[in-house]
Subunit: 273 residues, 3 copies
């Protein structure tokens, strides 16, 4: 059976971009289950894309193929790549994406039962001539380059057929982290705001003292970690360990970002107590 | 082959919440087809969730596993449950959800060729220790509790492995219906407004006289049932039997909710004629 | 194995309409992979639907079943049809839709490696009595007529079981094209605006001279074709061959429709140079 394929992009849901990728995947890897991770990423926002990659990588099944397309450089000469990733629990994953640093998100998974970090084992460049004929234009590599390459990996083809090997370290170059630490504590930021208005920070909970800590955001100080939403009354704020393994802030049954006027990138400070 | 799994939630489409659940399902129930029912439910609105459950339950294949997550109590000590449902056509379904009354929607299916109502046969509590290790935090039971439990049922594991049996009646406790009937007729409400602005009521058409009835909403009186949109001219209003089996009101080729300023919960009266 | 099924509609993502169709497909064609092409089409806009059909048809796998539901006539006596399409690369496709001209979009595919145009080989009318019992009401043929018919084709049933044959030419009647050509060049329009604000025209690039052309939109003149987004600086406009095979206009890393105030249907002129 073909391996499952997981799609993440900033293509949105207004166009048939994802539909065209699914057509190519069904054509080139018949029977491979195709799953949407997320397509409403802010356009061309590599930071947001890396964060959401980290949200799913720990849970992907062994052998899964991830296709990630956030691609401000489409139609330029930036390349594409396939990456083989070894997760600490022994699972091996494939990832296919533009060669723009996006895939470093796979390696930024937070502490989880499946271990952290994952490790990039090998990388290959994607060569167009190795793939089926493309559709018109040069602006839709999701359809013309990444989906056909992912389909080959999902059906078990060797990555060597996609193109020449790449230097792994270069392929997964990471942006400088926004997160800083000094003797006062962690200086992070609001890295994501979810549908419910919860503030997701980039401060890793596993690095904080079990005895507790104090968080400051938007002029408010909160003691953490709360064990869950049940720890406070409806409408009250709380700081807790979120589902990514980082510190989050919420208003129970409310919208913290909306109520406090907090935007993406706002600073979050966390001091050990 | 693993059974198909159907997902319904209020997780929205801005985050990778559904993607993470799909990763877990693909990991724990390889080959199980996964279908999205709906993820844009109004946050934490159990009434809306119950209505939309009722919209799909009559059509699910025998053996299907439904995962419904609308969960204002996540992170508190509310439990999770697995429910075995017998539909009147003989099909058996599984449902996995928070133990908050949400699953009563399965049993509120309207008259259909598959019979009404469905019947809850047995229920089990979900015990975390019976499932694979969870991800970080206590706020994402869709990923950490409901998806792993659903995967086990989809691959054919016995429900006894998930946790101890629960009292069925308690598990499916229903909220008091908003719908009332007196000697004048039915006093219902706008229970849903669909994408087209059509007003979906909670008044069951099967209980109304075949000879016809008169509906009042937003100060307008309409005779029903119209046999379909073709019964009136473009822009004209009509009252008809909707796809849930309840009375609906629409403007043909128009947006009744927008044009008339009707909101969710607005009263709808239906009198036999 | 059952054939893959692709869904396109204007049902949106606020309701369980797509979920109910998926339930029926999983019930009637177990194991058939189901893919969403697009569900956020502007309500009842047949032109938009035809354009997006053309975006995926060249890439669908041999044997795929396409279900397209944009159906202003639901609840009237308009019929439904199943169409067998032969693509120039030898692939055969099934399409199921209302008999309202929507499926002519399958035959309007632009030049692609898979050839153009596709050809309608045969058509059948859909007869309700040949299908499983429908759900309540007359307003949801996606669930009650098109999904059950598509499931039968996906599992390999003969189309003759769906209803009597139809005249193919009548079934795929095309609307008069908005595109005109005179001695000055092509007079097209903005046929779609994508998520990124790029202007997708209906002017086929394959008909334009390789030596280049000049495009006018919203009072701006641009030389084309640019080889891709990399041809200009960030923020600069460019005219290029888009992923549908027609001429498109974009602001690199920007939103052309928003910045220039261009709406769907705005004129686009293209003169050979």
């Amino acid at each position: 059976m073909a391996s499952p394929i997981f799609l993440l992009s900033d293509f949105g849901l207004r166009d048939a971009f994802v539909g065209a990728m699914r057509a190519v995947l069904a054509r080139d890897a018949p029977g491979a289950p195709v799953h949407d991770v997320l397509h409403t990423l802010p356009p061309q926002d590599l930071d947001a894309a890396r964060l959401q990659l980290a949200a799913v990588v720990p849970y992907l099944p062994d052998g899964a193929v991830l296709v990630a397309v956030v691609d401000p450089g489409v139609g330029t000469d930036r390349g594409g790549l396939a990456l083989r990733v070894a997760r600490a629990d022994g699972a091996r994953l494939w990832a296919v994406a533009p060669d723009n640093g996006l895939l470093s998100g796979l390696l930024e998974t937070q502490r989880s039962p499946y271990g952290t970090p994952a490790r990039a084992e090998a990388a290959w460049s994607l060569v167009r001539a190795a793939l089926p004929p493309a559709g018109p234009g040069t602006t839709f590599d999701g359809r013309d380059l990444f989906a056909p390459a992912a389909a080959r990996l999902a059906r078990g083809d060797a990555p060597e057929g996609l193109g020449p090997p790449l230097d792994v370290a270069a392929a997964v170059r990471r942006p400088p982290p926004a997160l800083r630490r000094d003797r006062h504590g962690w200086h992070g930021r609001v890295a994501w705001i979810d549908r419910f208005g919860n503030l997701v920070s980039d401060v890793p909970a596993a690095e904080l003292p079990a005895a507790g800590w104090t968080l400051t955001v938007a002029g408010r100080r909160l003691a953490g970690p709360a064990v869950g939403f049940g720890a406070v009354a409806a409408g009250a704020p709380l700081a807790y360990v979120g589902s990514l393994g980082t510190v989050e802030v919420a208003l129970r049954d409310g919208d913290a970002a909306g109520a406090w006027g907090v935007a993406l990138g706002a600073p979050i400070e966390v001091e050990p107590r």
